[in-house]
Assembly symmetry: C2
């Protein structure tokens, strides 16, 4: 198995598409997916300018009802207690609820995601209530993301150590297309030219 | 033949590598390369913030001895008067002089690039002296770049209309490698997922 780590923020529609991509390709390519977290709210917070490594404003220290993305992170760490496969199903369910069905990232959606993912619900809720432990795990993930220089989601880390933010706008879940795109992505990162950036310009309106 | 447009700034080492790449791949893939210009100095000028479409500070209106990149642009437009193949050879020669041999982008280097590229030197110098015409051509290129939303160099425009900034750090001139990388690049841009961005994070030192 090849371990691929995916940094995500539940708020981000590109992270949703990124997870769908690697999830669809995984069984065909023998990929094992590890999910970790990166907070756009923390990264982009005005108080953290220039402080990515040592942020002044930390989402993991905010009240549960505060930042939009916090509860989903805590719930994600609660789901992770049931193993990485359960974690993956939970993340996919919650991302679909939010980005496909337009549901907010509230407690009701988190519980529904846990149910859809086939988690043990009582255990999930108990783990979610162990909030200090979940906040510590989140802090640990966000520190790892900062050390890696993550600046957006989805960011993938390949078994080779190559890492990249990878943003695409059309959802790819058909296995053949997903495998093809994943292979392009990895070939690009492994290419000897050491590709750093590919980015489409945004065509301007008028002139 | 497939026409590929490349927006470049002579100041930019990534534009140099980008031109080497497409130049090495062109004969094998039947690519015809059109060079156009984009100015990093104009784009990043403090007076132009938020004014990409209608810049307050325009490099084409500056004194010839002013901005570092201006003379190379004017010389590039002078070289273009001798046809697109001559233009391409001139650009490659000047980029190599500057980025490989560490020479400044001054008149001496421009003349040497014209010589290395096999241009008619007297005609080149005369065309360079027709400065108002060259400045108009430069303005036209920079306006086209702004309309396309170019934000850095090299930016390639494929025959399909897909366009992307494409930055890599290791020079690729061996034809097989160049063809391979070019094909990856175009496959990525043509992929149905509509890839918008791929960007490596910069690993942070310490914590």
């Amino acid at each position: 198995m090849q371990n691929v780590t995916l940094y995500l923020d539940y708020l981000c529609p590109f992270a949703w598409r990124g997870l769908e991509l690697v999830y669809a390709a995984a069984p065909y390519l023998g990929l094992e997916i590890t999910l970790r977290h990166f907070s756009l709210e923390q990264h982009n917070h005005p108080q953290n300018r220039g402080l990515a490594q040592n942020p002044a404003w930390r989402i993991a220290q905010q009240p549960r009802s505060g930042p939009r993305g916090l509860l989903a992170f805590l719930a994600s760490h609660a789901a992770r207690q049931q193993g990485s496969a359960a974690h993956l199903r939970f993340a996919l369910s919650l991302l679909r609820l939010h980005h496909q069905e337009g549901r907010p990232l509230d407690e009701e959606s988190c519980v529904e995601a846990a149910q859809r993912a086939g988690l043990e619900l009582e255990r999930f809720l108990a783990d979610l209530e162990e909030e200090e432990a979940r906040r510590k795990e989140l802090t640990y993930d966000l520190e790892a993301a900062a050390e890696l220089g993550v600046f957006g989601t989805p960011t993938f880390v390949l078994p080779s150590g190559d890492a990249a933010y990878f943003r695409f706008t059309h959802l790819t879940v058909e296995p053949e297309l997903a495998v093809n795109l994943w292979e392009l992505f990895t070939a690009f990162l492994h290419n000897g030219a050491h590709v750093e950036t590919l980015k489409r310009p945004q065509r301007q309106q008028g002139a």
